[in-house]
Subunit: 220 residues, 2 copies
């Protein structure tokens, strides 16, 4: 019984790490679909969002079952409650990858991003990849020292987001209103993806250290 | 002991209803601040977001305590888990009201919304008010029949959101890129506010009927 219980707890952790892989892969492929106007790739991301939602529901159910059947002690219960919140944030990260893919699909066969901004979006995609991979590492290892790296990547993401705002609002912007809105929305998706990852790592820190959770102000 | 337990459970429900009032008031006042370019009102909304976050944290803690100390039976535990998710959604609705208020503050002393779109945003504000008030009613009474009303309001909100998109992208748009982006973002805030309310009512339906929760695809 006791061993089954520890196994159940660690399965929840494994599921969360699996979710970081799925939402990481989704955002990577969404970025590629966006930059290459690759319709098939965009559609594969949109379809795969169901798997992420299903895994989130599975984590919820596992958390419920372990609590109902095993009555975890307080420290384990903190882990269960934190895991629920983490799964919710990861599911939202999957939604944001889905939004990027849908934007790519909507503009196909054109690209939603003007040529001179491809580099910036590629950079945002790279940051998203680094952030989610480290987030998975924090969940798997409870090495909360990685949280500082993630926060730094998040600051870089915020900087790129502000830069893009400046570019679409500058008098030299030559791509019209639709492209300005596309760039603004896309940029927000990346920025919020990073915010959710920061929120996940704070939850892990809370679980590990017992310190209170500090809410991330999500910008959208 | 048993009575204290029932009281604790019902306190969680009361807190959730209180949260709907706070996020309803926040969105109302944010809409007013937006339409009137009222800086003081905008700042009061932004300050009050802390109270919403604090109430969310309180609900989380109450849910944790009741689970740790009382080991609720499965049906009550469903309510506790559902309440956690509901509090999270309501907290996000508070953030969205905060975003509207921040947009109003950013453009002060101008208004972020061109004169001819004031009516549409007033209508969105009215829908947000109706939705959140009925959401509070659903939580308080468990009368899930109101969910249909909320879904209908949400459809109206989606329609206004699409209309606004059409307007800023039309060749006759005369307010430039910044106003187009403002309108797009503001419109999304209202639309997502409504989506979160739908998500809350689905959670309540799940708690009441025991049917599985159907995720709302949040558009941002």
């Amino acid at each position: 019984m006791r061993q089954a219980y520890q196994e159940q707890l660690s399965t929840i952790g494994d599921d969360l790490v699996a979710m970081t892989r799925l939402v990481g892969s989704a955002m990577n492929r969404a970025t590629q679909a966006l930059l290459d106007a690759d319709l098939q790739l965009a559609e594969s991301v949109i379809r795969a969002d169901e798997d992420i939602d299903a895994l989130n529901a599975e984590v919820e159910e596992r958390c419920f079952e372990i609590t109902a059947l095993q009555a975890p002690v307080a420290s384990d219960l903190r882990v269960v409650f934190g895991s629920l919140r983490i799964a919710g944030s990861l599911e939202r990260m999957g939604d944001l990858a889905d939004h990027v893919a849908k934007q790519a699909r909507m503009r196909y066969p054109r690209t939603a991003v003007p040529a001179e901004l491809r580099g910036t979006f590629a950079e945002m995609g790279g940051l998203a990849e680094a952030i989610v991979s480290k987030t998975g590492g924090v969940i798997a290892t409870k090495e909360v020292s990685m949280a500082a790296d993630i926060a730094r990547h998040d600051e870089d993401m915020d900087r790129l987001h502000r830069e893009l705002f400046g570019i679409v609002l500058s008098p030299t912007w030559a791509h019209g209103i639709e492209a300005a809105i596309d760039v603004t929305l896309l940029s927000r998706y990346y920025e919020r993806y990073a915010d959710h990852a920061v929120s996940v790592t704070r939850r892990v820190v809370t679980m590990v250290t017992g310190e209170p959770y500090v809410a991330v102000t999500l910008e959208g």
